[in-house]
Amino acid sequence: MTTEMGRPRPRSLSRRNITFAAIFVSFAVATGIYAYRTLKIGTAAEMGSGFFPVMLSILLALLALAVAFTPLSSGGQPLRFASIKSSILVMGAPLVFGLTIQSLGLVIAVAVTIFLSSFASRFATLRQSLLLSAGFTIFCVAVFHFLLNLPIPLWGDLIIG
């Protein structure tokens, strides 16, 4: 899937807008039902915790439904996605950091996160990535640990025990 099907004709329904509506209507319905079942609605004078979320869900569903019937705006750019490798590396980077920060500590978490995410670029080389991650780790430790005194341990539980 790299390009939108042809040039969108004016007035014709847009596939992208229908996808949009489908995603948002299902999200709104799911959230609305979830809120309605778990929260109290209350009355207009004393609104329960569910009043506002349920109202918003209904509004969201209606608005999203309306999008399905509008043609794609002329400014719409052709669909283009980052490569799967790049996407996984970039989107996964925060998770890598989250998984390592407590067990391995700041130094290793930053180094690994930078090292892995740098390969999202086509131009990454092993040597450059190693240098980049080493340099940036030193910089971060200097700034966050020594300069700003953030209470994040340099070494994690697994290392210090």
């Binding site: 329960g48 996160t113 005194n149």
Partner: protein, 503 residues
């Protein structure tokens, strides 16, 4: 007038060496991210917000503000020298600025851009100082229903003034409001939409949300089409920084008009730097005796928008400081910063934290002075920064934001939130959605709900209360008219003209 006494309080705060340093750091960082394409003030503020957590509130706000208006200066350098908006608000500057550079007048363009920004910055600071107190006095008389109506108007206007589909903008706002509901309900104490996890008891962490939607999604967009960058830096040595008399005379009008325009448009909800610069360009082109010169190196096409974006950036602080209502996503993050610091934003800010309030205002003036010095003589240094390759930059941005997100609550779960919203943010851009209204709705959500509930409680559940109070009714009518107007084709077309320059 006790405005002088107030300004003295501000000067007292800013001239403290540590605050002066933070102001400088903010301006320096702002210029840097302004110069670098691919990272803007919004992402930077989102990343650095948690870092400022440990600072005193004054220092933190002064620095974050510096990043925003500093980026307006830096953005023009890239726009003029390499025909690439270093910052979105400089997109129109590139049109004529780059042509000037090709004609060997880069120095003049840079100098006029910086001097125009400086003038605009000083003027806008004065506007804030003059209007802040009367506005807060007015705001203190507002009841809950008035606030509710004001926020509705703000939300509607922000979509009307932004570009892109109005309907999708509304969807983004409502989605943002809905996401803002997640967490503990302040009235009943019950958990809402937390998916059963305690990690979301305090709501979706705003930093993780912002970093995901902006940093991660933006990086992925940059990686879509990666080519060997051939940034054609036009003049490695910029000479002739001193504009001639004729240049100054030619740009005086555009600078004045741009400043006025920016100061007004910045206050509007949804306004700010971007809208101001686009509108100013359109205005100058209309007023010019030589409209055919626009696009071929017209000085007015640089002077006007550059002044306007700086004025707009600064005057958008007015609703944030006086009412506690963000007019654009950057202000939404600033409110987030205040709340993280334990400072309640709103009309009481000026009385409760005068040092903070006036300190931030005066810091803008000092900051502008620093920026002229940073940007003009040191322009060569910033040009060098452009040779940093993107593929060295983005891993660093990821690393920085990950540390930032984690440091707010030392909770690894926040990084999951960041990753999830990275995916969401990237997906939304593929569906032609702007993330800005999403963030605005997210921040406004809890406030909007609180005022709605309070208003309904006071009125015993009678929705007519929104039409009985004149201020409320007036604001809601303006909101309705605005919404109707943007959905009405004639006005939509003129709106398109204003933003047509962008493509």
């Amino acid at each position: 007038m006790d405005i002088f006494a107030n300004l003295a309080v501000g000067f007292g705060a800013v001239l403290e060496p540590s605050n002066l340093l933070f102001c400088f750091i903010g301006c320096l960082l702002g210029t840097a991210v302004g110069v670098l394409p691919g990272i803007g003030p919004l992402g930077t503020i989102a990343i650095l917000l948690p870092v400022t957590f440990g600072f005193p509130p004054e220092a933190s706000m002064i620095m974050l503000a510096g990043i925003y208006y500093g980026a307006q200066y830096g953005g023009s350098t890239t726009a003029i020298l390499i025909n690439l908006p270093g910052e979105a608000t400089s997109a129109v500057t590139a049109i004529d600025g780059y042509q000037m550079a090709r004609q060997g007048r880069a120095g003049v363009a840079l100098a006029i851009a910086a001097l125009g920004s400086f003038f605009a910055g000083c003027f806008a600071t004065l506007v804030i100082a003059l209007f802040a107190v009367p506005l807060t006095t007015l705001a203190l008389q507002f009841g809950p229903s008035d606030y509710f109506a004001l926020m509705v108007l703000g939300v509607v206007a922000s979509i009307a003034l932004a570009h892109g589909s109005v309907l999708k903008g509304l969807v983004m706002i409502v989605l943002g409001l809905l996401l803002g509901c997640v967490g503990t309900d302040v009235y009943t104490g019950s958990m809402r939409l937390t998916l059963g996890t305690l990690d979301l008891a305090d709501g979706i962490p705003i930093i993780a949300f912002g970093s995901g939607v902006y940093a991660i999604a933006e990086i992925l967009r940059g990686l879509e089409d990666e080519r060997e960058q051939e940034r054609d830096v036009l003049t490695t040595r910029v000479t002739g920084l001193m504009p001639s008399w004729a240049d100054i005379r030619e740009s005086a009008g555009p600078i004045l008009r741009g400043t006025g325009l920016g100061s007004i448009l910045g206050i509007l909800p949804g306004g700010g730097a971007m809208l101001s610069s686009f509108t100013s360009y359109a205005l100058e082109k209309k007023l010019s005796r030589h409209p055919e010169r626009f696009g071929h190196g017209a000085l007015a096409g640089v002077a006007g928008p550059e002044s306007a974006n700086n004025a707009g950036a600064q005057s958008s602080f007015i609703p944030m400081l006086t009412l506690g209502i963000p007019s654009n996503p950057i202000m939404a993050l600033m409110i987030g910063a205040l709340m993280l610091q334990g400072v309640a934003p709103g009309p009481n800010l000026v009385n409760e934290r005068p040092v903070l309030f006036w300190g931030v205002i005066v810091s803008m003036w000092i900051g502008n002075l620093m920026l002229v010095i940073l940007n003009l003589p040191l322009v060569g240094l910033w040009v060098k920064l452009l040779s940093v390759r993107n593929h060295f930059l983005f891993p660093a941005i990821i690393g920085f934001s990950a540390i930032g997100v984690y440091s707010v609550g030392n909770n690894p779960f926040d990084l999951v939130v960041m990753a999830v919203f990275g995916v969401v943010g990237y997906g939304l851009t593929k569906l032609d959605c702007e993330p800005a209204p999403l963030l605005l709705g997210f921040v406004l959500g809890p406030m909007l709900e609180e005022y709605l509930r309070r208003a309904m409680l006071l009125a015993n559940g009678n929705p007519l209360t929104f039409f009985q109070r004149p201020i409320t009714a007036g604001l809601l009518i303006v909101a309705a008219v605005t919404l109707f107007a943007v959905l009405f084709p004639a006005i939509r077309n003129s709106r398109r003209v204003v933003f047509a320059e962008e493509d």
